[in-house]
Symmetry: D2
Subunit: 346 residues, 4 copies
Amino acid sequence: METIKVGIIGATGYAGVELIRLLLGHPKAKITALCSVSFEGKPISEIYPALYQINDDILVDEDTVIDQCDVVFASVPHGVSEQLAVKCLSKGKLLIDLGADFRLHEEQDYQQWYHGSYQHPEAHAHAIYSIPEITGDAVKSAQVIANPGCYPTSIAIGLAPALKNGLISKKGIVIDSKSGVTGAGRGLTQNTHYPECNEAFAPYKVGTHRHTPEIEQMLSELAGEKLTVTFVPHLLPVNRGIVSTIYADLAKEISAQEIHQIYQQMYGKKQFVRVLKLGDIPNLKNVRYSNYCDVGIFVDDRAKKLIVVSAIDNMVKGAAGQAIQNMNLKCGMDEDCGLHLVPPAI
Amino acid sequence: METIKVGIIGATGYAGVELIRLLLGHPKAKITALCSVSFEGKPISEIYPALYQINDDILVDEDTVIDQCDVVFASVPHGVSEQLAVKCLSKGKLLIDLGADFRLHEEQDYQQWYHGSYQHPEAHAHAIYSIPEITGDAVKSAQVIANPGCYPTSIAIGLAPALKNGLISKKGIVIDSKSGVTGAGRGLTQNTHYPECNEAFAPYKVGTHRHTPEIEQMLSELAGEKLTVTFVPHLLPVNRGIVSTIYADLAKEISAQEIHQIYQQMYGKKQFVRVLKLGDIPNLKNVRYSNYCDVGIFVDDRAKKLIVVSAIDNMVKGAAGQAIQNMNLKCGMDEDCGLHLVPPAI
Amino acid sequence: METIKVGIIGATGYAGVELIRLLLGHPKAKITALCSVSFEGKPISEIYPALYQINDDILVDEDTVIDQCDVVFASVPHGVSEQLAVKCLSKGKLLIDLGADFRLHEEQDYQQWYHGSYQHPEAHAHAIYSIPEITGDAVKSAQVIANPGCYPTSIAIGLAPALKNGLISKKGIVIDSKSGVTGAGRGLTQNTHYPECNEAFAPYKVGTHRHTPEIEQMLSELAGEKLTVTFVPHLLPVNRGIVSTIYADLAKEISAQEIHQIYQQMYGKKQFVRVLKLGDIPNLKNVRYSNYCDVGIFVDDRAKKLIVVSAIDNMVKGAAGQAIQNMNLKCGMDEDCGLHLVPPAI
Amino acid sequence: METIKVGIIGATGYAGVELIRLLLGHPKAKITALCSVSFEGKPISEIYPALYQINDDILVDEDTVIDQCDVVFASVPHGVSEQLAVKCLSKGKLLIDLGADFRLHEEQDYQQWYHGSYQHPEAHAHAIYSIPEITGDAVKSAQVIANPGCYPTSIAIGLAPALKNGLISKKGIVIDSKSGVTGAGRGLTQNTHYPECNEAFAPYKVGTHRHTPEIEQMLSELAGEKLTVTFVPHLLPVNRGIVSTIYADLAKEISAQEIHQIYQQMYGKKQFVRVLKLGDIPNLKNVRYSNYCDVGIFVDDRAKKLIVVSAIDNMVKGAAGQAIQNMNLKCGMDEDCGLHLVPPAI
């Protein structure tokens, strides 16, 4: 197969620059054009000196990216991707959107949580939401790929086998997630100013985070009925990683061993999901810089609850890595092409 | 009132050295003797150079402490305090135990979770478990004070008004706690080795932490009936602080405003509990190095759940500070004597 | 003595809020008015929730502070303090300036390094630069106190005995300093954005930092002749603290023991300078949150160099603590009043 | 070329597990056997769960490694590698030693700094010390490769062009280095216990670090005469990375531009050394997880000093990466084979 020309719109955001890191190691994709509204005309390596002498491409405008590339990754503020999709569709380019514009099936969910409406409803018909380990090959029919959010990825993978197999009650699911600070992006805020973020820890957007409808949409599909969850994200003083600790009432008498076996049946052959041995606990340090999602299974016999712990790198499996995984699938390459990333042990 | 002579057994542990820091600023207590089994004969400031020229006391044995002091703080491994209590009782000294030996009312709970049995059951009759904001003046009749654990303190304060006032269901309470690394103590482990603890995050002892029976004991008393909780602690890469995010089903239709008012009724006059304004979120950075417990109230209307977030400094309100608060109450001083600790904003 | 009414202009900056923390524990000073240009009309505790229910004062304008207070602390951008001094002088109020406006004796130094000129030269005649351990009682004659910079404090204390006693060459002194991030202030920058500051380390302003003339001015006075140093600051991924590692050629054959003795002669009775035992190494963790400066002495026999290591908390001895120490001296109180701050061992 | 069978003795140390991470991505090397004295019989992924399902090899003894592999990497305590060399030499296997046993040319240096003597002097005749950017192809004649220490690598690369071209005085060089905590290894110590290492910073082994003779040996070769340096390492609260700030007196009038040009002449074609543009400052965050050494050049005109700042990842260019680079050179592969590691921007 030939090399695919790829470009990134929003290349100087954190997901954008992580895409660059991963694509530089992809044997069948070639970074062809990078766009940044804020830094157009400058080399990317001036914004990120880590890339000096590795990629010194000059940042261009979005049309150049779309024109020169076969695959366009977009990591831009919500509300911006729709018109990118229209352009890409008209030119027959694949758009992989790392933002929220195409994730929600129902426009009313988008209206409720993002306070905007669809400007190009027709574009949505071509979009597919894809967590490959769950949605499988669906992505192959996409012209626009809605790449999932970081929290939803960690949660959906954590709960899918339990929901699909009716192991847990659909009511009262509690999701307590903790994310590293890169999840908040490159933009400066007081909360992410080093002296106020270091040696600090707190939840944020308690019960009101915009990933909630995306989480509920995916879990409802898995459950076969509409469900509602309680989701509380927390800001963790580390750069990367999400740990989601998920609590659900068991729907029946079942042992941890049996649940573990069901998880292994679903994920045993999925390269990027590691169902840990019973008793082993996921730690975000073990998945950092890689595309793995580690899953741990626990049963609280006293309270008859299933506790699932999942860990991902929010920038990789939660963003750039999964986007490349989706590209690979859509473009007929091996799912893991360019994604053999070994998490550093230390 | 005269100055009280105080001593510490286990002075070189983290709770011990935090007691030293706080007692050095206590106007009515004088550090008189410090014991450490591991470092006897050395000055405390050799172990902790932060204390150099501030307190260079030579570490002595436990009997010297008991003999020379009116009040003995003990921060020692579980199973060791019982005999200290016997000695203190025989000599009319007040023992304030920061360990687990006297926290559980039922010996069978101790046996189940600590795998040991009481060697001196008679000593337990003189012990009072005291979280002053909840148990009030009960401590005044104590001869041995069972100082609460860090997690239980953060949780009991967070849930007391809700449980006492029947706002929440007694079933299915989920407690997701995150603690700084000082909670694991001074002893070296691979998990707390800097390169493996930094940029890492994970739960530990999922559903099996020894603070569980203490939490359930206190909450059951508040609820007026025996209850069971799901408790999952996590290790947070910060030095100090605990945030507990607590989820409970609402027992009735009630607004966040009404709940907030009930919390304020209970804690409005308690100096060390700050019920935050509705919408404000506790962050452990705001209580570090102080005796405060910050409490935030949230209602998830969609799932009909109360979410309480509480934050303490595990070494102060979760250990040394509360121990001094208990001493103050027991000894007839102002509850906040020596505890006017302003949390550094940065 | 009566209580002194103190106020802070620039109360929401990091030095300002640290002044609040320390002054809240000062037995003879009462915080009377707090000014912030950016947040006037809001309670300080809204900006810094750590202060909630401890100090909820509403932020006012600078004239109110000057009118209501006996002593005015100013922590404002350079160029702003001069007119504050004029106002304070005219109303007989003591100004303690934590900024750079009054630190340099020669206006040409100010012009060269700060690119501005003095608007009120007459005010400078009333200003005294004071590091009490070095400049002694000079501050007592001040009407405006020029509170030293953080780096200069750590360096001057580290070198004073060596320079005063002619132990080292005045040429070729190399100062390699490392500062925590609070030194960069509350303002947001990409460099201090958590994900870019965490797990990072680099020098900055190599050979061009504005503290250089202040350092050289103080060291030249100590040496009795004008000298030039090489000064390179580094940004350290911790909140607080400065370590300065200072290298100088020995001017004569002298042992570490003899040098140590000379340091002890100068600092033995100074409460806030701790000359460590030979072989012991200053660590910023041992001085955090306190007014101490720890000093360690080393001789490199092979290269005939003196190596001095000094550690301070940049927010305390390097800013707010030293400002209060200066106030105490000027106002006839004990030098250490309100400054009995025990550095937490952990 | 065929795939090379490689093994690691000391696989569970930090350098060992980093070798595994890098070798897993090497297209022409295959990890064939891993040895650990402490964990023999266990899978490596039990010690480092980051490797779970990636490499679950069972740890074996050292003889198995030597027998089964063409190239043996050893990362073991000093004093152990000599006998490994003897075994490898007798069996015609290449030993790449990441420890200190073969780094010093003069046994008396080893005796002085390591307090031991050579047990197998004959083995040393076959050993070559190799920093490829400096020593070039010398490694090709080695049967034992002495892989350099982390500090010496960062320092030698930083000073080589200046020393070779006589730009600086050979006297009075001051090297102030700061290293992340992985440099201290996997072994537990109080200094690297998270609560004592976090929010801390200090020098250690002031003027007495064992890398000093290795530094002086390399610099003396570059200078063409024996020289002595002042070397002070510091422990930095980050996982990875070394920044060395190096101060030397200029030997003649020369501009920063000219020096920069000389550095570029030496390193312009070296893939792993990036001489930054004048004014740009190396930061360890820009080289983490990669084999790059970033070098920044500064001239202090006032003090007539050259200031060189170099940054490496101590685990990669300072250990495992350079070891693989040496293997590549020795074995006739491209120098950068398997080392196309892009440092993550965040």
